[in-house]
């Protein structure tokens, strides 16, 4: 394979700037797919992704482009996930590329994730080709955006393609630029095999399908390979390339190529994203850099709404994990909710995606408890505990001190909303670092913030206080000592373990009051008064009462119209089904998650 005819690249963009649409157009124009075969967005094949308009699971496509110079080029378009939670996956996908097409929306300009992605791409020494998209829209400002790309990012952009991925305008120019401006791979086909796993997929018939980029050497059916980080070794049963939506077997994958391999691999844990595949007998000198174990940052309890479905939940999590190595779970028991699992996620979006997939693809009805981060507890006996479930916090007398995880947060915002956003960050214990003006109307605010302040509803609050104009990115930056305490919630005088959470001690009173008020709204009135209390240790710090139900209005069964009466009763009964009984109190399932929604604006 002549490496000079290969281009391995990805498309990077802020959410909604048109990454998937451009990918569709490239696939269309390179012709391997007829229009009829085109799904609306070829790369986003999970329903969920389409609904959210983002790509979660990296996928890749190989197409053939006949360039204006008359030569045929192989394009490996490697898709990258578009969210901060999946930063590590993005970084592995980028590492598989030699260049990147940077899409910037000509109506929006440079956004937080545009910058984040560009920096990541530069970290991997990728050549970057800027493209200005959506120039067909009336509000497009291509000149301003080109200037912004030059000023803010420092990339030459005045001559870059100005396109409409939607209509196909000037997409040809993008294809030619990929050929002429992005570099070809330059590995050594005669060295021992060295390939990077950038994604994998579990198929119940074929086992794990490993997506990889070959840097040096080659691999074919029958090769005996080894995963350098996990140590697992396999005999390859098939190698191939990515057609649009299907796998096409090939004789061999050699240096510079992107493709897949299968080796009857049953366990996804043995083929971690970021690992290096090499030859078992002739190992390469050095693994490719950058491998990391996936690190969950956010934890929460997931319980079946109906207790008997616990085994179904376990099966579903097992199956999901086959496809999502970053998902972690272990069984736990709650007095309030029964048997369930404590699950670890990369971030809030990951949590959201997993719970929604459990509900949709496995038809489960779930109760999700408020998310928690990992706290480090230094005990007086010198040991250190990692706590992901507030219930497991030891007695305060055994605690020497505690630490909580911090993140570096970058918030890009139009200047008129700087005030409200700064207020929000201060409310969430943010430590201000700097404001960088990108231009007169836009700035990046940089804060250090405790992760536990952003995992509940920070994103929603940010959007509502900026009318949707703020964008946000964060990165873990270590643990700091903090004054933390556990807040318990008592419903009808009983502690509900699933509602306990760890809070910055000076905020305990305020949080306790907010939670009680929130629960008062969530819990419907019942046959008796229900006291709701917040407590730190044995001290009650806040209280609300859900007053008992006193009187229903008596509707007239007019003219013998009974069906109307029945509907009313059915509605009443439906509402009751959505409740979980805690002691003798009926609590709506959503309450366990909603209780921490603090921002009422």
């Amino acid at each position: 394979m002549d490496q000079s005819r290969i281009r391995n690249f990805c498309i990077i963009a802020h959410i909604d700037h048109g990454k998937s649409t451009l990918a569709d157009r490239i696939i269309e124009e390179t012709g391997l797919l007829t229009e009829r075969e085109m799904q609306d967005q070829v790369l986003d094949n999970m329903d969920l992704e389409r609904e959210r308009g983002i790509t979660i699971k990296a996928q890749t496509v190989r197409t053939i482009y006949k360039a204006d110079d008359g030569e045929e080029y192989i394009f490996n378009l490697i898709d990258t996930p578009g969210h901060v939670d999946f930063n590590y996956e993005v970084s592995r996908s980028l590492a598989a590329c030699d260049g990147a097409v940077l899409v910037v929306d000509s109506t929006q300009g440079v956004e937080a994730q545009t910058l984040g992605n560009v920096y990541l791409a530069l970290d991997h020494d990728l050549e970057i080709l800027p493209v200005i998209n959506k120039v067909d829209l009336p509000s497009a400002q291509p000149d301003e955006v080109a200037r912004e790309i030059e000023d803010v990012i420092g990339l030459e952009a005045m001559e870059c393609p100005r396109i409409s991925a939607k209509t196909g305008l000037n997409v040809h120019e993008v294809l030619e630029s990929i050929v002429h401006k992005l570099p070809a791979p330059s590995g050594d086909p005669d060295k021992p095999l060295r390939a990077l796993i950038f994604d994998s997929l579990y198929d119940s018939y074929r086992g794990v399908i490993v997506f990889m980029r070959v840097f040096d050497g080659s691999v074919r059916k029958g090769s005996h390979i080894k995963m350098m980080a996990t140590g697992a070794d396999f005999e390859v049963t098939e190698v191939g390339i990515f057609g649009a939506g299907k796998f096409i077997p090939e004789e061999e994958l050699s240096a510079g190529m992107v493709g897949y391999l299968e080796a009857s691999i049953k366990d996804m844990k043995q083929t971690r994203v970021g690992d290096t595949v090499t030859d078992y007998a002739h190992m390469c000198d050095e693994a490719l850099p950058g491998y990391k174990e996936p690190q969950p940052m956010v934890y929460c309890g997931i319980y079946p709404a109906e207790t008997p479905r616990y085994p179904d939940l376990r099966d579903a999590l097992e199956k999901l994990q086959l496809n999502d190595a970053a998902l972690q779970y272990e069984p736990e028991t709650s007095q309030a909710l029964g048997f369930g699992f404590r699950c670890g996620f990369l971030g809030l979006l990951h949590l959201d995606v997993v719970t929604q997939r459990l509900e949709r693809e496995y038809d489960l009805d779930l109760i999700t408890t408020a998310p928690s981060v990992i706290y480090k507890i230094y005990k007086t006996d010198g040991t250190v505990l990692d706590i992901t479930n507030p219930t497991n916090m030891p007695d305060p007398s055994e605690i020497e001190h505690m630490e909580e995880p911090m993140v570096k947060a970058e918030i890009m915002v139009t200047t008129e909303y700087i005030g409200p956003i700064m207020t929000l960050c201060q409310e969430r214990r943010g430590i201000y670092e700097e404001t960088e003006y990108l231009e007169t109307t836009r700035a990046v605010l940089r804060y250090r913030m405790p992760l536990n302040e952003i995992i509940y509803d920070f994103f929603d609050a940010l959007k509502s206080r900026s009318r949707g104009y703020a964008s946000f990115d964060y990165e873990f930056c270590g643990y700091v000592r903090s004054e933390l305490t556990r807040l318990d919630i008592l419903v009808n005088h009983e502690v509900v373990d699933a509602l306990s959470f760890i809070v910055y001690a000076p905020n305990a009173y305020k949080r306790g009051s907010q939670m009680c008020a929130r629960l008062k709204k969530e819990i419907p009135r019942q046959l008796f008064d229900i006291p709701i209390q917040a407590a730190v240790g044995s001290k009650i710090i806040a209280r609300e009462t859900v007053r008992q139900l006193r009187k229903d209005v008596l509707a007239k069964c007019y003219g013998g119209d009974i069906s109307r009466k029945r509907k009313l009763l059915e509605k009443q009964k439906e509402g009751k089904k959505k409740m979980r009984e805690i002691g003798s109190v009926e609590v709506p399932k959503e309450a366990f998650l909603n209780v921490l929604k603090l921002d009422e604006e």
Binding site: L527, K551, D552, L554, L568, E570, Q572
Partner: protein, 379 residues
């Protein structure tokens, strides 16, 4: 021979009240004539359907049936008597708005009707204005006088609690004024703010001040006490009567007897099926020659639905439901289906068992009847 009740819907009114979401609207003379002809066609269409059923109650409801000209009322009744065997002791009720009662109507009342239901609502004129009623309390008093002179021996007054601005004191005035007019029967409903009404919009805007829940509850208790002292025993959530004057037609609804509804939007329960007529009056008039084409939402009730209805309707009656009658109706024991619910409700003070095998709601059970009755829907 089975017994059956007939309901006739007359959708006209002088003007729509601010709380009303019933199927009613102001209409001109021509419209009334056309509607009466449609009604007659529909009734006659049932010629062969119910010849073996004896009609023991007829109810003219609305709207305001007293707005229908006498000549047309007579024609409608002629159609009924031509089509159905009407029992000579049948209870025949006509609803009237006190603002529409007049001499001309009395001859019809005298020879065709034996029970009149008068929409009094309140004795406080300001409250009547709030509701958008077209009459005063004085109109009510005069109407009662006229009806009595015309020989009406069975009179109901409809009252309404929960009116915006109403207080316990004003409700007490309404109750004693109603009692002083000496009706045989009193119905007292609470105002429900229904979607699509002017009250609903006002409530959304926050300009409607309704009595709070506690006040409503005390008004309800007061109703029961005041009326009991004056000789009106409660027999259903909202209905009170002197001995021998319970409304047979309404009891039919709660005990699931057969009834046929005629007119736009009218509901029927007949031989195990429920249905309603179209709610579109133009369509009703157009399709009336073919009564089958008027039917909307025809539902053949299965045993489960019948049992559920039996409970949530039967428990509206203060006499409650008895396990013997339940067994006779369905061939199963009430406790086999509802033992857990009944025991739990008795424990919670929502239900009692005044004599063995009879279950009825307590005052507290009636207060929160939606919660209590919903538990009789089976899974």
């Amino acid at each position: 021979m089975g017994e059956i009740g007939l309901y006739l819907h007359i959708p006209f009114c002088v003007r729509k009240c601010a709380y009303c979401d019933f199927l009613s609207f102001p209409a001109g003379e021509e419209m009334k004539k056309i509607y009466a002809s449609a009604l007659i066609r529909e009734i006659r269409g049932y010629r062969n359907a119910a010849e073996d059923s004896k009609v023991t109650s007829i109810f003219l409801g609305g709207g305001t049936p007293s707005l229908m000209p006498v000549r047309q009322l007579r024609a409608v009744f002629q159609a009924i008597y031509d089509t159905f065997p009407v029992d000579k002791d049948a209870e025949i009720t006509m609803e009237m708005n006190p603002g529409t009662v007049n001499e001309a109507l009395m001859s019809f009342v005298f020879d065709s009707v034996n029970r009149v239901s008068l929409g009094m609502q309140s004795a406080v004129d300001e409250e009547l204005v709030t509701l958008g009623r077209i009459h005063t309390f004085e109109d009510v008093r005069k109407s009662v006088e006229l009806l009595r002179e015309s020989g009406v021996k069975n009179l109901n007054l409809d009252l309404m609690s929960g009116i915006p601005g109403q207080t316990e004191a004003s409700w007490a005035r309404t109750l004693s004024a109603a009692v002083s007019l000496g009706p045989e029967h009193i119905s007292a409903y609470s105002l429900i703010v229904e979607e699509g009404t002017p009250f609903f919009r006002m409530k959304e805007e926050g300009s409607l001040v309704l009595p709070d829940e506690e006040t409503e509850r005390r008004m309800y208790t007061m109703t029961r006490d005041v009326l009991a002292r004056s000789g009106y025993a409660q027999y259903e959530f909202s209905n009170y009567a002197r001995e021998g004057f319970r409304c047979r037609h309404n009891i039919r609804y709660w005990k699931r007897g057969d009834y046929l509804g005629f007119g736009v939007g009218a509901a029927s329960l007949f031989r195990g099926s429920r249905w309603s007529n179209t709610r579109d009056v133009d369509e009703y008039i157009r399709l009336s020659p073919d009564p089958g084409a008027l039917v909307r939402g025809m539902e053949r009730l299965n045993k489960r639905a019948e049992i559920e209805e039996y409970m949530f309707l039967g428990l509206r009656m203060t006499e409650g439901v008895s396990s013997a009658a339940f067994r006779e109706a369905f061939g199963v024991e009430i406790r086999d289906l509802y033992g857990d619910v009944i025991d739990r409700q008795i424990r919670s003070g929502l239900m009692d068992e005044p004599k063995e095998g009879t279950f009825r709601l307590t005052d507290r059970g009636i207060d929160i009847s939606n919660v209590v009755l919903a538990e009789y829907l089976l899974d």
